[in-house]
């Protein structure tokens, strides 16, 4: 038997030899028999020319073109093919000196001696014509068609974002990108990169040693065509955006406007801003550095998503809703205000002079601090929970359902969480079981550790307008087809407060504008519902906040306005919000005096009228 098995070695050896022979035949076929894989004998070179697709366009909500492409040309170099270049002539053609020429060639060589690198980026159409005629004299150099991003209106720089060359780290991580490829770096350009970029193609052409184009390789059989990027239809109203940016001239702050029924963002203004056309093409690096170095105005900082403020009195709306939901507050609940709310140790949360006692709608209208300290205390002292900590945990859960404390998940990068402090935080700060309602009472009037971003504030106005739900705010309403809907934002988010509790809050907000703290925000024939707020600012003058929606029935716009260092919420934020609402709903603004006063107001280095009343700001709204 063993003899027989030993004979199996012949079968195995035969199998090995057969496969080896098979490979030899295949090698013979590929290397000698067919021309299919062979380049002509005089060592021609294949040049793999990437076909860059046109990047997708971006439109505003009325179909106005916001971002488009313009032709430009990149001068490419393959270092290994550079043969004794007539350096001086080429330097002259593109306007650089010999040292710079050597530096760039060295840089390209370091990337790869065999693959094309960009030698001079974004040459304009005029210069290209001149260059093209002379280029045959410089082996190893060739020109590649590219596009330049252009912005029709110089608005919404933070939101639209910009593109730039993919860096070495990214190229190592993502095999799609090669040196010289462009990629969205911020804003919509970044978050919709994969939609906008399209699909690169590849043309393989044969070049002889003299850099002459000998035509497509194998009649273009292996070429692939590029596929243009997909267009995006933004929900942004370019006119409103532009108007918002005008209103915010010489002010630090932000405006966010959302359509409540859909969550579509109508505008996002972050001020100070910059012209998006500054970060385009070969001027981008220089300008970017300049913008980055501007630490006074910080124009690259997107306040609408990345600044987090204590919401001040706007948070009283949240108290009113949670208090009712928790069963410790009804529209009829009345609290009297003796000018402040004592919190022990002789300290008092002060209030301004107003009629007393007030019911809930009145408390909102007058923005009584005492009223809402009492509401917040009753939420924390709710006997349904074993202790303050448990009541707080539940309060926090409800507050998170408003979209606070974590990113809303909007489709613009770099959104921040904001902050709703945790029980664990207070345990650590005060000691376990050593904090009570009185310890954290400032939360009730939206001060202290709490932090909310402008987009979360606008979303608060949105969810009140909708009486308890919202769609995640988003700037892209349709991808590819104008009438399609962005499928990523179709889930309704439900706030953990019953719809019936919203009516009294909305009543209070309407009264704020007609007879309360923000009478400046009134518009003829439109019922605006709003709430002022003032964010304490330990570094300087307080921030002015206003949130609103309008009209009261079937709301079409919800808005938040934050003016940094502007003091009292009613002086700057409320009128600006009111002008924005008028602009959006009526398409033109009739209150020219107010408009002019707002546009010309300089809160950055000018003197703000009436700013001596620093301490009274918080008391008054």
């Amino acid at each position: 038997m063993e003899r027989v098995l030993a004979n199996r070695k012949y079968i195995i050896i035969g199998f090995f030899a057969l496969i080896g022979f098979f490979f030899l035949v295949r090698l013979f076929y590929v290397q000698i028999l067919v021309d299919k894989y062979i380049l002509s004998a005089n060592n021609n070179v294949l040049r793999y020319m990437t076909q860059y697709p046109a990047r997708g366009l971006i439109f505003d909500r009325f179909g106005k073109l916001l971002v488009y492409n313009e032709a430009a040309y990149d001068l490419m170099v393959i270092p290994r093919q550079v043969k004794k270049p007539d350096t001086a002539a080429l330097c002259e053609l593109i306007g650089i000196d010999k040292q710079e020429f050597i530096r760039r060639l060295e840089k390209a060589r370091n990337y790869s001696p065999y693959r094309p690198s960009i030698f001079e980026a974004q040459i304009t159409r005029e210069n290209y014509g001149y260059l093209e005629e002379k280029l045959f004299r410089f082996p190893g150099f060739f020109v590649q068609l590219r596009t330049l991003r252009k912005y029709t209106y110089s608005v919404a720089a933070h939101t639209l974002g910009y593109i730039g060359e993919a860096g070495p780290d990214l190229i190592a991580k993502n095999s799609y990108y090669k040196s010289g490829d462009y990629i969205g770096i911020s804003g919509i350009e970044k978050s919709y990169e994969e939609v906008l970029r399209g699909k690169k193609g590849m043309k393989i052409r044969v070049f002889d040693v003299l850099n002459r184009d000998k035509g497509s390789f194998r009649e273009g059989k292996y070429d692939t065509t590029s596929v243009a990027g997909i267009d995006l239809f933004s929900s942004m109203d370019a006119d409103l955006q532009l108007y918002g940016e005008q209103l915010m001239t010489n002010k630090k702050g932000s405006i966010v406007a959302i359509e409540p029924s859909t969550g579509e963002i109508l505008c996002i203004v972050s001020s100070p801003s910059y012209d998006p056309n500054l970060l385009v093409g070969n001027i981008r690096k220089k300008n970017y550095t300049l913008l980055l170095q501007d630490t006074v105005f910080n124009p690259l900082f997107n306040r609408a998503l990345m600044a987090s403020y204590p919401p001040g009195s706007t948070f009283k709306l949240v108290d009113a809703l949670i208090g009712q939901q928790e069963g410790v507050l009804t529209p009829e609940t009345r609290y009297s205000c003796p000018g402040g709310f004592p919190i022990g140790n002789g300290k008092v949360v002060a209030c301004h002079a107003h009629p007393s006692p007030l019911d809930l709608a009145g408390g909102i209208q007058i923005s009584c601090n005492t009223y809402f300290c009492r509401v917040f205390k009753s939420i924390m002292d709710n006997k349904s929970y074993v202790n303050t900590r448990a009541a707080f945990e539940h309060w926090r859960k409800l507050a998170l359902s408003f979209g606070f404390g974590k990113k809303l998940g909007i489709d613009i990068p770099n959104e921040l969480n904001g902050n709703i402090p945790t029980a664990a935080y207070y345990d650590k700060y005060h000691g376990k079981n050593r904090w009570r309602a009185m310890t954290i009472i400032s939360l009730g009037i939206g001060q202290g550790e709490i932090g909310i971003t402008p987009v979360q504030l606008a979303n608060l106005a949105c969810l009140i307008a909708n009486k308890g739900w919202f769609y995640t705010p988003h700037i892209i309403r349709a991808i590819g087809r104008k009438d399609s809907l962005n499928q990523a934002f179709m889930t309704k988010k439900i706030v953990s407060v019953d719809a019936s509790y919203f009516d009294v809050v909305i009543e209070g907000m309407a009264n704020v504008v007609t007879a309360g703290t923000a009478r400046g925000a009134q518009i003829d024939s439109i019922t605006v519902c709003g709430k002022t707020g003032t964010a304490q600012n330990p570094h300087g003058k307080n921030h002015s906040i206003f949130i609103a929606f309008a009209p009261r029935e079937n709301p079409r716009i919800a808005i938040s306005v934050v003016c940094e260092n502007a003091g009292f919420g009613a002086t700057w934020a409320a009128p600006i919000a009111s002008l924005m609402i008028e602009k959006y709903l009526k398409r033109k603004v009739t209150r020219k005096d107010l408009e002019e006063r707002m546009i010309n107001g300089n809160l950055i280095n000018g003197k703000v009228p009436g700013n001596e009343r620093e301490q009274r700001d918080i008391l008054q709204d």
């Binding site: 038997m1 030899a17 090698l27 013979f28 290397q31 894989y37 060589r109 590849m202």
Partner: protein, 419 residues
């Protein structure tokens, strides 16, 4: 005294010579593949070729160490070594590092160590040990089950690491079972099934079924027409027809997207030259442009564009094909086949069953790597990322292959000492 001096006389210097030739050829071609004018020194440690030189020197130390160790050590500790690497294979799933989609790496210092490479050697040892026991007969069902488990355990774990290529290699050990007495139908089926699968994607299914039917009828005509034989042929026919029709489902629902793409590229359904088809096409252009004599060392233009991402590892054969032409690449193929045959013949000469089965294991594993790697580079097999033994860049694979081969060389040298 004589014995001690003897070891180095009794070593199969031909095997060592082929090993050295392959390793040096690998190093030079890695140099050519990643050649860079600004780092033109072949000893430059910042480059792959410099690192490969270090790997090679370490491999030599490993080889030397293996030759000094008492050969009985490997047979006695087979199961322990097997268990040891099995343990590491499992460990690496939980604590390993991910490199290009596969989780099977340990980071030690700056190097990645891939236990799967060493597990092949350990499995050969354990399988040889098991089969060499006097009371084991592979034709007995229980023994076949245990032998299969020895092979399947590491296969499964490596598969879980998403390293499909390495997992497939373990199937090579079926050849060892075949030599031990397993029915020839098993290895035949293992070879025929993938071929049938590829065919069913290439040829219309009904035509293929027709061919199968004709083959079944011819078989029926020639065999002794006893009921049992007729039933077997009908069953085989039905099973293979069923297989042909289930291939589409398997490809579309069981394989992952990148694996599916690679198979479609192979059968020419997907001409996506920037995606999955890109490597193979680049590889063929590079090899084809080498013609008979090749372009000469460092003169390649296609491989130097770095258009094939795994130029120095899985696609190293491209560089050889382009720069050394038909002459050089066929010489390499012949050298490999010669190596495999030499190992088989040498294994047959072993007096110890352990050494013989181990030898078969070594030849099978090396052969599978060779066949899959070059088959892939020549566009005959789907892209499966496994290295070309001794030639491809990489420390883990070089060390594992060196150990694999030199344990056999050591066993072989001991054959004479047994007298």
């Amino acid at each position: 005294m004589r014995e001690n001096r003897g070891i180095f006389y009794r070593i199969d210097w031909v095997l060592v010579g082929i090993y050295l030739a392959l390793v040096i050829a690998g190093w030079l071609n890695i140099y050519a593949a990643v050649y860079d004018e600004s780092h033109h020194h072949i000893f430059d440690l910042s480059q792959k070729y410099g690192k490969q030189m270090i790997f090679i020197l370490a491999a030599f130390l490993l080889a030397l160490g293996t030759l000094i160790i008492d050969p009985k050590f490997f047979s006695q500790f087979s199961y322990f070594i097997y268990g040891f690497f099995l343990f590491f294979l499992i460990l690496v799933i939980f604590s390993g590092r991910e490199i290009s989609g596969s989780k099977g790496w340990f980071a030690i210092g700056g190097f990645g160590i891939q236990p799967a490479e060493f597990a092949k050697m350990a499995t050969c040892l354990a399988l040889a040990k098991y089969l060499s026991a006097l009371d084991v007969d592979i034709r007995k069902f229980s023994n076949l089950v245990i032998a299969s488990l020895i092979i399947l355990a590491p296969t499964l774990i490596v598969f879980l690491q998403h390293d499909t290529g390495s997992a497939i290699v373990f199937f090579a050990l079926v050849l060892v079972l075949y030599r031990a007495g397993l029915s020839g139908y098993v290895p035949l089926t293992i070879i025929i099934l993938p071929a049938l699968a590829i065919l069913s994607l290439l040829v219309p299914k009904l035509l293929l079924t027709g061919c199968l039917l004709v083959m079944a009828l011819i078989a029926l005509f020639f065999i002794k027409r006893r009921l049992k034989n007729i039933l077997i042929i009908i069953l085989v026919f039905l099973a293979s027809t069923g297989f042909v029709f289930s291939v589409d489902y398997g490809v579309n629902h069981i394989l992952e997207k990148h694996q599916r793409d690679r198979i479609y590229v192979l059968v020419g359904q997907e001409i996506d030259l920037k995606g999955a088809g890109y490597n193979v096409n680049q590889s063929l252009i590079a090899i084809g442009s080498g013609r008979f004599f090749g372009k000469g060392f460092l003169q390649g233009t296609q491989t130097k564009y770095n258009f094939v991402p795994e130029q120095s590892t899985d696609f190293i054969f491209c560089t050889i094909g382009e720069e050394q032409g038909f002459l050089g690449s066929s010489l390499l193929v012949i050298l490999y086949v010669f190596l495999f045959i030499r190992i088989i013949l040498s294994a047959e000469k072993q007096r110890s069953r352990f050494a013989r089965f181990y030898g078969y294991g070594v030849a099978s594993v090396l052969f599978f790597h060779f066949a899959i790697n070059i088959g892939m580079t020549l566009g005959l097999l789907p892209v499966i990322g496994i290295p070309l033994p001794f030639v491809s860049y990489g420390g883990s694979s070089l060390w594992a292959f060196t150990l694999l081969l030199f344990i056999f060389i050591r066993q072989d040298s001991y054959r004479h000492e047994l007298i």
